[in-house]
């Protein structure tokens, strides 16, 4: 009975985090982006500086008509938003926010494998949407998504492998237990590559070719309306939360920090993840969208070689200095 309660509580907490954190990131994006452009952003919804803007958006989306195009593959079309969103909920289960077994939804021995595999499923949602919409722009968006997934999954996996090599384990809590501060300079190249590849996989600007609205309307999401469209947007922000959490755990030491082991570990995790989320927004505001060929070039000619070099460096340091 106690076990069941424990499991239910953990699931509930993860679910609440999954529902609130993406909205917090979204609201932060509204405000940060506005101020970086010399504007104020939402000011009215909710009364105080537009804090309820995304709630109002949600209400608006819920009221809209849910349309499935006549020529669309109906079942796949309707299923796609769930496929895009749910994997991030599963990944969130496996991210540890503090030391010990109490601070993670579910301890998995093969944490990195699980996390990266399931995150890859999330992109399938966009592919399904693009194919099932029976719309040329959606199809183009879906194909671009596929090309982007192929190009950026590789450096992401390689850099994650580098961390796993350094820690000697593929379990996320295990990696955190093995972390030392000097991993930061040691794995810095891997961290940057992982973060950039993650951004590209989330199709965040400046890597938002698959939804480039000035070229292909809104890519795979062109035909979506109402709540299903909102779920795709939510998936993007949930993806930011997951990516920032993963980068924090793999490269920035997660709960490590002053008093990290004395109960303040979760504060450190959240702080580092929030900082990364700010960087995600910052990059979006600053940089223009890459062209499709530039996007591919960046991955194959820069990120893949860099991640291979990082693996080599990790191996050398591990064998020569840590034996």
């Amino acid at each position: 009975m106690n076990d069941a309660l424990d499991v239910a509580l953990r699931l509930l907490i993860v679910f609440v985090v999954f529902l609130t954190f993406p909205l917090i990131v979204g609201q932060t994006e509204h405000k940060v982006m506005a101020h970086m452009q010399g504007r104020l952003g939402p000011m009215y919804a909710g009364g105080f500086h537009g804090w309820a803007q995304l709630v109002a958006d949600g209400v608006k989306f819920a009221q809209k008509e849910d349309i499935v195009p006549a020529g669309a593959d109906r079942r796949i079309f309707q299923l796609a938003p769930a496929v895009a969103l749910l994997p991030y909920l599963l990944v969130l289960l496996a991210i540890p926010i503090g030391p010990g077994e109490g601070a993670v939804g579910q301890v998995l021995d093969a944490g990195i494998f699980f996390v990266l595999a399931v995150m890859g499923v999330g992109v399938l949602g966009s592919l399904m949407a693009g194919w099932a919409s029976a719309n040329k722009f959606s199809l183009l968006g879906g194909l671009r998504t596929a090309a982007q997934l192929l190009a950026y999954e590789l450096p992401m996996l390689l850099t994650a492998a580098s961390v796993a090599m350094a820690a000697g384990t593929v379990s996320l809590p295990g990696i955190l237990d093995a972390f030392h501060w000097w991993w930061l300079p040691w794995q810095i190249v891997g961290a940057i590559v992982f973060f950039v590849a993650g951004l590209a996989e989330l199709q965040r600007p400046p890597f938002d070719m698959p939804v480039a609205d000035s070229e292909i309307i809104f890519g795979a999401y062109t035909e979506y309306t109402g709540l299903r469209f909102a779920l795709f947007l939510l998936a993007e922000y949930a993806g930011i939360v997951v990516l920032c959490g993963l980068t924090t755990v793999l490269f920035l030491g997660g709960w490590h920090g002053p008093w990290g082991e004395d109960g303040l570990g979760w504060v450190w995790t959240l702080l580092k993840a929030a900082l990364l989320a700010f960087v995600v927004i910052w990059l979006r505001v600053t940089y223009p969208r890459l062209r499709e060929d530039q996007l591919q070039k960046l991955s194959w000619t820069l990120l893949v070689p860099l991640s291979l070099a990082q693996i080599a460096l990790t191996g050398i340091v591990k064998v020569v200095f840590l034996q």
Binding site: V32, A34, M36, Q37, G38, R39, L40, L283, Y287
Partner: protein, 227 residues
């Protein structure tokens, strides 16, 4: 020297971060009124006391949104035996702001300074017909016309002020000249009297009543005095 690779990316990040720390330029309009310059093209005010119904504004208006009606009135002669004059009396002056494109040509073209820009802009209506502002409403807008902004330092003098100044200077010059001759005449008259008293009857002029001769006989003009 080529810049360090990625320095442009860093510069871009610096720009957005710096902008974030600065004050925003957004004006919360319905809560705070915008601070508009005096020549803002908000609405057109009519100073009907200056209007002579010359119809220039209505004719120059590119979209014909100015409506003017008038009639002639005869003014009785100002002096007995003079001619009667006729003048135009304004009956209706209306601007249809649903047609107006705010080009300001009517204001530019008015030779009598009867039309002015006002920065007021909150006159939206739910019925398009109400956007035709009649004479009294246009006159009311005049109260919102701000004083013109000061000229730039070193700017050319405004034409009307220059003309007025020129006239005033000319007037002052003629006045000063007249005064100067007056004082000179007075002085000469005094001198002549003194001389006449000093030399007795010997110097008595043949035509003592002629002031011109007295003047020419003054010691300052000896050749003329001898003639």
């Amino acid at each position: 020297m080529t810049p360090f690779p990625g320095s442009g990316l860093a510069k871009g990040l610096a720009v957005t971060l710096r902008t974030m720390t600065k004050k925003t330029v957004t004006e919360q309009y319905p809560d705070t009124q915008p601070d508009l310059p005096p020549r803002t093209r908000g609405v057109i005010g009519l100073f009907e006391e200056n209007c002579t119904v010359c119809m220039l504004c209505a004719r120059e208006c590119p979209d014909w949104c100015i409506y003017i009606d008038s009639h002639k009135e005869t003014v009785p002669a100002a002096v007995p035996g003079g001619r009667e004059r006729s003048r135009n009396v304004l009956d209706r002056f209306a601007i249809d702001f649903s047609l107006c494109m705010y080009c300001g040509i009517c204001i530019e073209v008015c030779p009598f300074d009867a039309l002015f820009w006002s920065p007021e802009f909150e006159y939206a209506e739910t019925d398009i017909h109400e956007l035709t502002h009649e004479r009294d409403k246009l006159r009311e807008w005049m109260w919102t016309v701000p004083a013109p902004p000061a000229l730039d330092p070193g700017a050319e003098e405004p034409k009307e002020i220059a003309a007025a100044r020129k006239t005033a200077e000319k007037l002052a010059a003629t006045q000063a000249a007249a005064e100067a001759t007056e004082t000179a005449e007075a002085a000469q008259a005094a001198e002549v009297t003194e001389a006449a008293e000093g030399t007795g009857v010997a110097q008595t002029a043949p035509e003592p009543a002629d002031p011109g001769h007295v003047e020419s006989a003054s010691p300052t003009d000896p050749p003329e005095g001898q003639s």
